[in-house]
């Protein structure tokens, strides 16, 4: 073995008239010169290849999601004919946000726009799947929205990739390559969400809804605006109005409007409002950890958050928040065991906060925020 090694070393480090060694030297110098002039181009080629690989994965995810959506709509909707054209049209939908140059009344304009979007989406899904019931309509709508999100991600990344290649701009490609790991995580989450919505499985975002559902078990529930259910539950001698979106279809409802209505109905005589929601965890924190704070724990376009803040300010209602920590991937993919295990702990915390901050006989609001897919009441 040693003579072979010696032979190789003699080839790489030449001495005297070793021709092979000289060839290596020349090749090495050649590579050095080429890299001096074209190093950046090579770097860009490597980055382009990485982006291309991720773009291919995104395309595959988008196409798979689309295929799943078509199959599922056909299976559930029992539409005579092919819904492919309608689904493709749905996947290209966009919504233009209202003017915020003049911020006065922007919340109401945004709410109106979201309502129109919601109605349009639901009507389209009903046309695609005329035989589906309300729960299935909600699940299909959520599933198509997740597919739409994957389509948007794919199109945007493709745009910058093609732009970077066309302009040969290292900086466009570099920015894309740097941000891609985060985008891929989001895309993975949407792909998982699409499958969860298709099968009606509870997702991590429904942690708040699950807490409310557990609290309202065995009590009479009434429907309130919009797509919300409410139950009056006696907790530790207090009268609690427990709210959640109506399940088990994929639905977030309008918790802000429902909370405002309860506060108005009780003429502001609410001693405490507790909002329970899934909260984004920082890296390094454990999934399912519970944390308490103050403020309105409602995500999304902030219309509901605004309504609760307005009503709470008007009637001087203290608003507390309890969050169950999870990352964005867990929030939109099927619920993890750690989150389910945390639910009883959250209920204990809710009871403790009520005991500490209210008196017997007081009225409190407990709102479970989040998508209630796969969670009944």
């Amino acid at each position: 073995m040693l003579p072979i090694l010696q032979t190789l070393l003699q080839g790489i480090f030449p001495s005297g008239d070793n021709i092979i060694g000289w060839i290596f030297q020349v090749v090495f110098l050649g590579i050095f010169v080429v890299f001096m002039f074209y190093g950046q181009r090579f770097q860009m080629m490597i980055m382009v290849r990485e982006v291309e690989s991720s773009l291919f994965k995104l395309k595959f995810m988008r196409d798979e999601a689309r295929k799943t959506a078509i199959t599922n709509v056909k299976e559930i909707g029992k539409l005579e004919g092919d819904p492919t054209v309608q689904i493709d049209r749905f996947l290209e939908y966009f919504a233009i946000s209202p003017v915020d140059l003049d911020p006065s009344g922007v919340i109401w304009r945004l709410e109106h726009m979201l309502d129109v979007r919601d109605i349009r989406f639901k009507d389209d899904v009903k046309l695609m799947a005329p035989k589906a019931d309300d729960t299935q309509i909600n699940n299909l709508e959520n599933m198509l929205e997740a597919t739409l999100a994957l389509n948007v991600i794919y199109r945007v990344i493709r745009h910058y990739y093609v732009l970077g290649k066309k302009t040969l701009s290292l900086y466009v490609i570099m920015q894309l390559q740097m941000i891609l790991p985060l985008i891929m995580r989001e895309a993975d989450a949407y792909a998982a969400a699409q499958k969860a919505f298709m099968l009606g499985q509870p997702i991590g975002d429904g942690a708040g809804a699950l807490v409310a559902a557990k609290l309202m078990q065995g009590y009479e529930k009434t429907k309130v605006e919009k797509d919300m259910v409410i139950a009056e539950v006696p907790i530790e001698g207090r009268n609690a109005y427990v709210l959640k979106a109506e399940g088990p279809g994929g639905n977030v409802g309008k918790p802000g409007e429902a909370i405002r209505q309860v506060i108005e109905k009780k003429k502001g005589k609410i001693s405490l409002a507790i909002l329970v929601d899934a909260g984004l965890k920082l890296e390094g924190e454990k999934t399912g950890e519970v944390a308490e704070g103050i403020g309105v724990a409602i995500g999304g376009p902030e219309v509901d958050k605004y309504k609760v803040e307005e009503a709470a300010l008007k009637h001087n209602v203290p608003v507390n928040a309890i969050i169950i920590r999870e990352d964005v991937g867990d929030a939109v993919s099927p619920m993890r065991k750690e989150i389910v295990d945390a639910i009883d702990g959250v209920i204990e915390r809710v009871k403790r906060v009520i005991l500490e901050r209210t008196k017997p006989g007081d009225s409190v609001i407990i709102a479970g925020i989040g998508n209630t897919i796969g969670i009944g009441q």
């Binding site: 190789l8 080839g11 399940g247 454990k286 999934t287 993919s333 619920m335």
Partner: protein
Amino acid sequence: MSQTTPPTRRLSPLLFAVIMIALLVALVCIWQGLVLFLDQGYSDIVSLYLSVGLVTLAMSTYMMYQTRKRMVRIISMEMQPLSSTVQCTKCGFKNIREFKRGDFVFKETEEICPKDSLRMVISAIYREVKDKDKAKENAY
């Protein structure tokens, strides 16, 4: 919108052929180098054969590894298994089974409690993350 592209499309036949030819050339070079070395001892041509063979072998193996890695990453988009906990509301008897389409939390199922003969309710639906992934999450 375009049709679904199967993941296998990524490994083009041309690339596969190039890798295979390179691998073959590498093995032939190494073999030839070794035969010549054992036959005649050290010479420039032995060195050339071995160097070219080893460099080509390294490059083709790397290319093969890269292609395989990408394919594995794409194909691993499988669904994680989900469990439904079915519970008796009276005695608390629990049964954990695989999630079925149509299951939702607080749904009254057709399953009967063996102790109380009451219909059981789904009390939880969840997925379990592999210990390996959990360890990665909790490493810091």
